[in-house]
Amino acid sequence: MPVARLSHLALVTLACAASLVAATFADAAWLRQQRAGGMAQMRDLVEQLQLTDLCLFTEARYTRHLSQADLHSAFQDHPLGLEHFPTGSLVLPPPRLTASHERPDRETEVPD
């Protein structure tokens, strides 16, 4: 009985793994179809209730409604009230807020 060669074993295993990776694209398409109902339901709910944000982080108001937050909300509990919620380090404030705060600084051509 011929002994299986290591090279054959390795190449077949890699080919199987590569096919599985390719299959993830097909699986993704199938799952997308399966979960389309849920997505449509969420879209409807957002439209009906006029929601503005994803409910990803419920611990702080400025991360629960990320798009509605202002730049001071993380620090406004009291002066020197440093931002302390873990999600504050996961996400930064909306780009529109930081952009408008950084601009004057960056536009200054001559330093004082």
């Binding site: 060669r5 290591l6 090279s7 390795a10 190449l11 295993t13 890699l14 793994a17 590569a18 990776v21 993830t24 694209f25 699986d27 993704a28 799952l31 997308r32 979960r35 389309a36 109902g37 849920g38 997505m39 339901q41 969420m42 879209r43 409807d44 709910l45 957002v46 439209e47 009906q48 209730l49 006029q50 929601l51 503005t52 944000d53 994803l54 409910c55 990803l56 982080f57 419920t58 611990e59 108001r61 629960r64 409604h65 990320l66 798009s67 509605q68 202002d70 001071h72 909300s73 406004q76 919620f85 873990p86 999600t87 380090s89 996961l90 996400v91 930064l92 909306p94 780009p95 529109r96």
Partner: protein, 378 residues
């Protein structure tokens, strides 16, 4: 042609036997390498799918939200604002929204109380999100009491639980009637949390926002496109935890590749010396080591990517949940709709497979061109 393929197969046979001689070290290497790919691929798949979901779902968000600011804080919209906004040309529809936060000391969770504009909720009843129902163990028909900020106790009956499939947007929602909301939060009639507007011509949205800012200097308009942009850049590679994870993984990978590139162990050097002494050419040694790098890196990439796909789309990114949850009690159970960006996968492949394969070749080439006797003597 066949002879060439056969030669490569023999080289692979030899490489695998050589790897098997240092089993523990090589398996450890494969494990670490796979873990790095798994981590990077999980973050990549999760953030991309989440951004896509946000773009798809929030497309129905209000076109313009008008907030009022007092001393840098979000404040209630006083009576009269809605009427004045109606006079701005281009505003098609305007509606005062009533919503706010409530901290439930029983389970230490935050809820979002909201009055739905388009449906009537009977007084004394609530529609709650599936996440909130789970946290409080609620079912339809149950009674629940909340102590309001004024100290009064309010009891409500659960009329409906929002669908589980929509938890990503509704896990913490508590929908309540307008009258109940106003008495619970002691908000006088005519006051609103903010105003949602729709504009007749989509090209006019920015103009309408500019007019709103002019006419209501104490207000802040937030456009739908800004909401979408906020979620487009959520978990950006350049910020927060993703940056921390990515830099750690890249650092680990760099140490890993550097260790490979900086030199060979005495065993490996001796092996190359012996191979050259028995007649192997420099090219053969390089090809053998190329196969070693290629097999290890390919295996690590394929296993790491497959595990990441299963983790994110079949097991609901369960390893990320504790990180995303933070101190929150409520966390939505959601299944992301898989969207895989082929370009991202290709980039991950390029940056994880090629540097390693290249890093293994450099020291081998240095050893392989040296005199076999000198290499064997070290």
């Amino acid at each position: 042609m066949n002879a060439r393929i056969e030669k490569q197969k023999y080289l692979i046979d030899f490489t695998l036997s050589s790897l098997a001689r240092r089993k523990a070290k090589n398996l450890g290497l494969l494990l670490v390498y796979t873990l790095i790919v798994f981590l990077l691929a999980s973050v990549m798949l999760f953030t991309h799918a989440l951004r896509q979901a946000a773009a798809e779902v929030l497309v129905g968000a209000p076109e313009v939200i008008l907030q009022r600011m007092v001393a840098g804080r979000h404040d209630l919209i006083p009576p009269g604002y809605l009427e004045r906004i109606g006079r701005i040309r281009g505003v098609q529809h305007k509606e005062g929204r009533l919503w706010g936060y409530y901290y439930d000391p029983v389970v230490k969770a935050n809820y979002t109380f909201m009055v739905p504009g388009n449906q009537d909720i009977a007084a004394g009843t609530l529609l709650v999100g599936a996440g909130m129902a789970r946290a409080r163990g609620l079912a339809v028909g149950n009674l629940i009491s909340f102590r309001s900020y004024s100290g009064k106790l309010f009891s409500f009956t659960i009329a409906r639980i929002l669908p589980h499939d929509s938890e990503l947007v509704s896990a913490d929602l508590v929908l309540i009637s307008e009258a109940d909301f106003r008495s619970f939060f002691s908000i006088a009639p005519g006051y609103f949390t903010d105003i949602a507007l729709s504009v007749a011509n989509p090209l006019e949205v920015r103009n309408v926002a500019a007019k709103l800012s002019q006419q209501f200097p104490d207000s802040r308009p937030i456009l739908r496109e800004e909401i979408l942009r906020t979620y487009e850049s959520i978990f950006n590679w350049r910020e927060g935890i993703v940056l921390a994870l990515a830099s750690l993984a890249i650092l680990a990978f760099a140490i890993f590749a550097l260790e490979k590139a900086s030199g060979l162990s005495a065993d490996e050097k001796r092996e190359i010396g012996i191979l050259k002494a028995i007649g192997w050419e420099t090219g053969d040694v390089l090809k053998m080591k190329f196969w070693e790098g290629a097999l290890v890196s390919l295996a690590a990439f394929l296993i790491g990517y497959l595990a990441a796909y299963l983790h994110v789309f079949r097991f609901s990114s369960s390893l990320f949940a504790p990180v995303l949850k933070g101190w929150a009690v409520l966390y939505p159970r959601f299944e992301l709709s898989p969207v895989i960006d082929g370009f991202q996968v290709a980039t991950l492949f390029f940056f994880t497979v090629f540097p390693y394969a290249a890093a293994t070749l450099v020291p081998i080439w240095r050893a392989a061109i040296a005199d076999p006797d000198a290499v064997m003597r070290g």
